[in-house]
């Protein structure tokens, strides 16, 4: 369609069609998660979810792995619901707006601090809801990264030293949906044999064939990878390999600590930042070591260019401005109950992350030359069989 009207979500900065570097999407998503971690204000959190889902809507590819976001949304909703109703067992928070009172079960003194039932206050409910929503938002950010960047593409950007670990994770990830398919097939087979397909017994009967199938597939994959040259050119001395791995592991741990610091798992953000720096240094150092005798090559690895930089910068503004927002805005008080306040500047800065849509290129279509019908029927027929 050469003269189609220009749609608002078309990239206006770089109009080529390619995948954005997977690392860029992951960084973008992690930064969004970091923003979410810094606030419990529902308005802010819903804004973040809105931004993330909008970007996913317009920048995810149409490959199967892109559909994973749905699962994350459902999981998020589940978390909010569960967290909110957990108040029934941990009800004590300052406040006085009692909604209703449940019969209270007193537990023996070893379970001090936990009581089941009792007075349910609106304050507590609100508090739990905010906590749950924050967690759900972070989860949805991670889901967005999964949908925006193919795990396989991410593997390409993974440093050589991590290749094996990355590959293992990815193989495991592709096995999960296959296991689900196998489970469905075995259950159908039990149905065909006239058995009940619910209950523990049918489950235990099904497990053996499913595992056997998985085992067979794993062996098949291993042999085929081997015959395609996997592991062929890794000529490293054992000591060098071990040191690189240790450095890499330390580096990763450092990064994880740092990130969790930033995400507010620890009370002091400074510890997180320091850890992150140390971790990054270690990781880069070991990458350098490992890269020196890299033996594999990468076919059309993702490039890191201006769009990538811009995309990563979009959530940074929000993250920084949020640090300067007032505490009452970021964590609205639960007692007395009141509507959450907003600070116009920081809230609009969150929406700046939407610019990722305009900076990032269009992802290539994978079903381009396919009629709708042949697209799915084959797979479905196979899975249904």
């Amino acid at each position: 369609m050469p003269s189609a009207p220009r749609r608002w979500h078309k990239p206006f900065v770089f109009s080529e069609t390619r995948f954005l570097h997977s690392g860029a999407w992951w960084l973008w998503a992690i930064l969004m998660a970091a923003i979410a971690a810094g606030t419990t204000n529902p308005i802010y959190l819903f804004s973040i979810i809105f931004v993330v889902l909008t970007v996913v809507k317009y920048r995810k590819s149409d490959a199967p792995w892109s559909k994973s976001i749905k699962g994350f949304i459902y999981a998020g909703i589940l978390i909010v619901v569960i967290r909110t109703f957990l108040v029934i067992i941990t009800p004590d928070i300052f406040g006085d707006t009692v909604l209703f009172t449940l019969p209270q079960i007193d537990l023996p003194s070893i379970f001090a601090g936990i009581k089941i039932g009792g007075a349910i206050k609106a304050n507590t409910l609100y508090f739990s809801f905010k906590q749950g929503l924050r967690f759900a938002t972070i989860l949805i950010c991670i889901g967005a990264a999964q949908s925006l960047a193919s795990p396989y593409r991410l593997l390409k950007s993974v440093p050589a030293a991590l290749y094996e670990i990355g590959l293992a994770i990815i193989v495991a990830m592709t096995f999960a949906p296959q296991l689900a398919q196998d489970a469905k097939r075995v259950r159908e087979a039990q149905f065909l044999r006239g058995r009940k397909i619910n209950g523990i017994r049918s489950f235990t009967k099904a497990i053996v064939p499913i595992l056997e199938g998985a085992m067979e597939r794993a062996l098949n994959l291993a042999s085929s990878m081997d015959s395609r040259g996997y592991g062929r050119k890794v000529h490293q001395t054992k000591i060098k390999k071990t040191t690189t791995n240790i450095f890499m592991l330390l580096g990763l741990l450092g990064i994880i600590f740092g990130l969790s610091g930033l995400l507010g798992v620890f009370s002091q953000a400074n510890i997180g930042l320091l850890n992150l720096l140390i971790g990054l240094t270690l990781a880069i150092f070991s990458l350098f070591l490992a890269g020196k005798n890299a033996s594999r090559t990468k076919y059309r690895a993702d490039r890191w260019e201006i769009p990538e930089v811009l995309v990563v910068f979009t959530p940074l503004v929000g993250l920084v401005t949020l640090k300067f927002s007032e505490a009452s805005v970021l964590n609205p008080p639960t007692s007395p109950l009141s509507l959450p306040q907003i600070d116009f500047v920081s809230l609009s800065c969150i929406f700046l992350a939407l610019f990722a849509i305009f900076f990032s290129p269009n992802p290539p279509k994978s079903y381009k030359n396919l009629s709708l019908n042949s697209k799915f029927s084959l797979n479905l027929e196979k899975t249904a069989a």
Partner: protein, 535 residues
């Protein structure tokens, strides 16, 4: 050049060697077909070419295999990656990445080939196999034929000299199979590749083969020109059998060869007719009215109207993805219609469960192993007796009638494909359902196993069972079908008597009918019977 020197191989838990003292040479640039019954050692033979056997399988190996002077004794399978490309029976099990282009580049990445070279070779291979249109596609969205082509492409980028394929067309519909085979032939002709392939469906591949390696039950292996092999071998495609029975010499290997001889035979049989295989009908078994079914996003079946009587053997045919399996699943009640009605013997299958279901209808799924859940044949049969609430021993008795000489203590996974199918079929038959459905039953079956299946299906048809098969196997349909239904895009395109539908369709006509066209003959046995009648 591939040489086998005094190769003897025995699996660890086997009582006898599967290959014994094999000596042969495969010259470069030939397309070599490996034939033999299931379990005769074809896969073992293929595995030896790049050392997957014994490196991955274990077992007792003596002798030596050399591929262009590289011995599997000195090198690992991965060291053969630039010399031997291996394509497995089901390419899905060997895909490592998730899209076409990456999959094609994978081997080169492992070999550490420079970036610009990789780029160039990927483009070359994409063009060679006609995959350019599909380059960005996710592997899980490909059709069977496309998958097979991607698998071939992905091993070609390392410029191997040998290509090894294990049953490349057994899961494909006839047109997809042709697509794959013509590409293989092109590789042999244009690139001088040596192609070694094992295939049960000889009718599809014999015409392309330069040489045939026969692996006998007695572990004897020999190689010869196809004409010599098929003059006497036990396993042969229908056109060869026809030639042998009618006494043509030399035995024709292709339909084209046979047609040159056939003129005289056609005249001789001008007044004869194929035997009537229809069983008289007494009762409607399946009634389908206006059935439509949608998966999310697509319409899998639209407006199907169908009536099937007892004693009919119906073959559902059509491309991969045309709705055959979906229709079977509707009839057995695994799926319920989006609109319209399905009735079997006046009941709605979706409402039947448990014993009610299996007394009415039984389905043998595409993977018969799905039905097998116990760890020995005997236990499997006992469980089946219990499920069907019949006298203990019934299933085993049926099984022994279908196929003799299988030990009761064998683990179902160790059975051959044909034996697995027979076991699954006997489980289904134990409850004596009037309606039996089979989904793609001949995948992985060799000729003799197929003969047993054909015989059993015909017997069931005579006993007034209704049988519905979904199959790509034209020759199977020619042998058993009384009626053929062609599906395309979820719609019934043709529905008619087997010999009319099969002999008039270019894609789905069996070899005999191609030879005998325009007369409507489908099978060798029909022709032979008619000739005997004349004498």
């Amino acid at each position: 050049m591939i040489t086998f020197e005094n190769v003897t191989f025995k699996y660890n838990d086997a009582d006898f060697s599967i290959l014994e003292n094999v000596n042969l040479t495969i010259p470069s640039g030939e397309l070599v077909l490996v034939v033999g019954k299931t379990g005769s050692g074809k896969s073992t033979f293929l595995g030896l070419i790049n050392g997957l056997v014994p490196n991955f399988s274990g077992g007792n190996f003596s002798g030596d295999v050399k591929v262009f002077d590289r011995s599997i004794r000195d090198f690992q399978p991965r060291d053969f990656a630039d010399l031997v490309g291996v394509v497995k029976q089901d390419p899905r099990s060997s895909f490592v990445t998730d899209n076409v282009e990456d999959e094609i580049a994978y081997s080169m990445e492992q070999l550490g080939i420079a970036n610009d070279t990789m780029r160039r070779r990927v483009e070359e291979v994409l063009d060679l196999l006609g995959l350019n249109e599909l380059r960005n596609r996710s592997l899980s969205t490909l059709s069977g034929g496309q998958r097979q082509r991607v698998a071939i492409a992905s091993v070609l980028t390392t410029n191997p000299k040998v290509l090894v394929l294990d049953e490349p067309t057994s899961a494909l519909d006839p047109s997809a199979a042709e697509e794959v085979l013509s590409i293989l032939q092109r590789l042999v002709h244009d690139l001088g590749l040596t192609v070694v392939l094992a295939e049960h469906r000889l009718e599809r591949v014999v015409q392309y083969a330069d040489r045939v390696i026969v692996i006998d039950q007695e572990a004897e292996v020999y190689a010869d020109r196809p004409v010599n092999v098929f003059a006497s071998s036990q396993i042969a495609p229908p056109v060869v059998e026809l030639g042998r029975n009618v006494g043509w010499h030399p035995v024709p290997l292709t339909v084209r060869d046979a047609r040159r001889f056939a003129e005289e035979l056609r005249i001789r049989l001008e007044k004869s007719k194929p035997r009537n295989r229809n069983n008289p009908a007494t009762q409607k078994v399946v009634e389908i009215e206006n059935l439509s079914f949608n998966y999310p996003n697509i319409r899998a079946l639209r407006n199907i109207n169908l009536e099937i009587n007892d004693g009919e053997i119906v073959c559902l045919m059509g491309r991969n993805g045309s709705g055959k399996s979906t229709l079977l699943n509707q009839i057995v009640g695994l799926l319920s219609p989006t609109s319209g009605n399905v009735n079997i013997l006046g009941k709605k299958p979706k409402e039947l469960t448990g014993i009610e279901l299996i007394k009415n209808v039984g389905l043998v799924p595409q993977e018969p192993t799905d039905l097998l859940l116990s760890d020995s044949v005997a236990k499997e049969c006992q469980a089946s007796d219990k499920d069907a609430k019949v006298i203990p021993g019934t299933t085993l008795e049926i099984f022994e009638q279908l196929i003799s000489s299988v030990s009761e203590n064998t683990h179902p996974r160790d059975l051959s494909e044909g034996e697995k199918l027979s076991l699954a079929l006997s489980i289904v038959l134990a409850a004596k359902p009037p309606l039996i459905l089979l989904d793609e039953p001949t995948r992985g079956l060799d000729y003799s196993a197929k003969k047993i299946l054909v015989h059993n299906l015909q017997k069931l048809g005579k006993k007034k069972h209704t049988i519905i098969l979904a199959t790509h196997d034209v020759e199977l349909a020619a042998e058993v079908a009384t009626r053929v239904i062609l599906l395309a895009d979820g719609e019934i395109v043709t529905d008619g008597l087997a010999n009319e539908v099969l002999s008039s369709s270019p894609m789905f006509s069996p070899q005999v009918s191609k030879v005998m066209a325009p007369a409507h003959w489908l099978t060798v046995s029909d022709v032979v019977y008619a000739l005997e009648e004349l004498n």
